[in-house]
Symmetry: C2
Subunit: 364 residues, 2 copies
C-alpha cells in the first residue's frame, strides 16, 4: 500500500495511452478524465479502471485507430458515431461540440452511439462550467438495474451529471447513478476483501436482497441479480421514479441516435463471446449569458446553495452539503497527499507498466 502523487499518476496514465497508439493530445484527455475521478474521490472510475481500458484495447473491444464520425448535424444538435473508439475521447469531442453550438445559438445537444466506457460522467459538465455554461451528461451502460416489479438486470446504472458555475470556490456538480448504488462501488468493496454491501442495493432473482460483493458481481453477469433503482423495490418508496429516470437516461443515450439499448449493451454475443459495447451518450450545454449575465447567475447559485447549507440539521448531524462540495474537499486532500493505491490496484498498475513497457512509475 502506498500513495502516488497526482502528477506522476496522471503522467503514467498518459504514457500508457500513448503506448496503446493514442495521439499525445488524446492520451492527455484520457489521463485528465481518469485523474479527475481520483481527485474527486471516486475510486471506481479513475486509475482503478486503467487496466480494464488496456485489456479491452488489447482484445480489440475498444479501437484506438478510429475517429468519431458526424452522422447528422444541425445548428444546435449533432449525432456522432463513436466507431467503438475510446469513450473518453469521443465524449470529450462531443461535449466540446455541444459547448461550441451553445456559444453560437444558446443551446447545444450531441447524441452519441457506438461509444465505450467514458470515465466519470461528471467530467463533461465541468467542461461546460469552464465555458460559463450549464452542462449535462448522460450515458447508458451494461444492463445491471431491474425495473420496478422486475428482477432482471435491464437498465445500466445510467448516471445523470449536471453542473453549473457558482460564486464559490467550487461549482455545483451532481454526478450519480440512477440506481441506489453502482457496480463500481461493489467492485471497490470486492477489492477491499469483500466488505458487505448494503441490503438495500441488490435484489436476487428470488426477490431477496444480496450483500456479498463477489457473489453480486458474479450474479450480475449471470443475470441472477440486479441493482435496485433509486427509490428501492417498492412504489411506496418511489422505486418507479428511479426506474423512470434511468429509462430517461436510456432514451437520451439511444433513441435519438438509433443506438443500442438495454440487452444489446451486454458486451456479449448470443453465444457468450465478448463483443463491442455500443454505449450511447447524450451531452447538453446551455449558455448562461443567453438567459442572465454570468455573474448574476453565479450569485443566484451561491445564494441558493448557502441557504440550503444553513438550514436546520437532523439531530446528530452537524452539516448539510451541496452537490460537489464533499468532492471539493477530497480534491484538496488528494492533491496534497496523492492517490491511495491498495495492493490489488498496485498489482494492476504493475501489470500495465509491464505489458506496455513503461519506465516512469516506481511502485516496487
Amino acid at each position: 500500500m502506498t500513495n502516488i502523487q497526482v502528477d506522476e499518476l496522471q503522467h503514467f496514465m498518459k504514457t500508457a495511452f500513448i503506448k496503446l497508439g493514442v495521439s499525445e493530445q488524446d492520451a492527455q484527455t484520457c489521463a485528465e478524465i481518469l485523474i479527475t475521478s481520483d481527485l474527486r474521490g471516486i475510486e471506481s472510475h479513475g486509475v482503478g479502471r486503467l487496466r480494464m481500458y488496456v485489456d479491452r484495447i488489447h482484445k480489440g473491444l475498444i479501437e484506438t485507430n478510429v475517429q468519431p464520425q458526424i452522422v447528422r448535424e444541425s445548428p444546435t444538435t449533432a449525432v456522432i458515431d463513436g466507431q467503438h473508439g475510446i469513450g473518453m475521447i469521443i465524449a470529450h469531442q462531443s461535449m466540446q461540440m455541444a459547448i461550441d453550438k451553445a456559444h453560437q445559438y444558446g443551446m447545444g445537444a450531441v447524441a452519441v452511439r457506438n461509444s465505450t466506457h467514458f470515465g466519470i460522467d461528471g467530467y463533461y459538465p465541468l467542461m461546460a462550467i469552464s465555458a460559463g455554461m450549464i452542462g449535462m451528461s448522460f450515458t447508458n451502460a451494461r444492463p445491471s438495474v431491474a425495473p420496478t416489479f422486475g428482477v432482471q438486470p435491464m437498465l445500466g446504472t445510467n448516471p445523470i451529471a449536471f453542473g453549473a458555475p457558482t460564486d464559490e470556490e467550487f461549482p455545483f456538480l451532481f454526478d450519480a447513478a440512477t440506481s441506489i448504488t453502482q457496480r463500481g462501488k461493489i467492485e471497490v468493496l470486492h477489492r477491499k476483501n469483500d466488505q458487505p454491501a448494503s441490503p438495500d442495493w441488490v435484489i436476487g432473482s428470488d426477490g431477496q436482497s444480496l450483500t456479498n460483493p463477489g457473489e453480486i458481481l458474479q450474479k450480475l453477469v449471470s443475470n441472477e441479480a440486479a441493482l435496485l433503482p433509486l427509490g428501492g423495490s417498492k412504489e411506496e418508496s418511489g422505486s418507479h421514479k428511479g426506474y423512470d429516470l434511468s429509462t430517461i437516461v436510456e432514451i437520451l443515450s439511444s433513441a435519438l441516435q438509433s443506438g443500442a439499448y438495454l440487452s444489446a449493451l451486454s458486451g456479449l454475443t448470443a453465444d457468450g463471446k465478448e463483443t463491442r459495447f455500443k454505449v450511447g451518450h447524450f451531452f447538453m450545454a446551455m449558455n448562461i449569458e443567453n438567459f442572465v449575465p454570468l455573474d448574476e447567475f453565479k450569485h443566484n447559485m451561491g445564494g441558493l446553495l448557502r441557504e440550503l447549507r444553513a438550514s436546520r440539521k437532523m439531530p446528530g448531524k452537524d452539516r448539510i452539503y451541496t452537490a460537489g462540495e464533499k468532492e471539493y474537499y477530497i480534491e484538496k486532500d488528494v492533491r496534497k497527499n496523492g492517490v491511495y493505491i491498495n495492493d490489488n490496484l498496485k498489482k494492476d498498475l504493475l501489470h500495465v507498466k509491464d505489458i506496455l513497457n513503461i519506465a516512469e512509475l516506481s511502485l516496487e
Copy 2:
C-alpha cells in the same frame, strides 16, 4: 358522492375561469390542463385544485389581467416574467415558445419567473410530443422538502416531467416530484378522512417520521415537518441523489431567470401575511427530426419500452409498467365513467358554482 363526465367538468372549469375575467382561449387552456390531470388519475392537481385557484385569484395572489413579459430572448432561449398571472397560461405560452424555437433551431429553452401554480408538470411535455418533440418541464414550489441531513422544509417538491413520442398508442411520459411523495397526495389522504401516510415520507423536526395527514399538513406550514427527498433520509439509500435532483430543479427554476428560490417561495411575508408565490419554471423542447427521422425515433422508443415490460418479474408481480402506461389506462376509464367527485370536492365545486354564479353544473 357522484361522477361527472369529463366534458361537463371541463366546461364548468372553463366557465369558472371566464367568470374570473380570463379570456375564452386562456380559460380553455386552464380547463384543459386541469382536466388532463383528472384524466391521468392525478386527483391532487385537477378539479380538486379549482377552488384554490378561485380563492387565490379573489385574494389578489394570482392576477387575471396581466400578460407574461419577455425579459430576454435569443434564438433558442427566453426569459419570461409571469407578472403573477395564472401559472397554467404563463406555462402554456412559455412551452409553446420553446417548441417554436426548437422547430427553427433544433432546441428551445424558456425560463420563467414570477409565476404561480401551473397544474400538472406532465402537461407541458405532452405539448412537445404533439409537435414531434421531446419535452421537459420543471418547476419549483413552496418549501416542503428537507435536504439530506436536514429537517427543515427548504425545497419544493420540485417535479421533473419528461415526455417523448413512441410507436404505441400512448407516449412515454414521466411526471414526478423529486420527493418520495408530494403535498397533493397528503391532501388527498386528508380529504379521505385522514388515511395514514407512509412512514417513509415525512420527517419531523426531531428526526422522527410522521404519518397523520392533518398533522403533516399543519406542520409543513409551521416548519415543524418536511417531506423526504427520493432516496429517503440516509445517504446509503440515496437520499443525496433525490436532494440533489430537487436542487437541480430549483436551479433551473430560479437561477437562470434571477427568480425567487427556497424560502422566498413560502407565499408568506416576514410577518406571516399571505403574499405572491413567485414560482419559477423551466421548459425545454428538442426537435427529434434534428437527430433522427421521427418514425425511426418512435420505433426505437417502442422497442426499448417493450423490452423493459417483457423482462423477468419479481415473485408475486405479474406486470412491469413504463412511464405513462398506467395513466393511459386510467384515462380510458375516466373518459368512460367520468371523474369521481367525493363529498369534500363536491362542497368545493358547489362553493365555486355559487360564488361565481355558474348555472351549468348539476351536482345537487
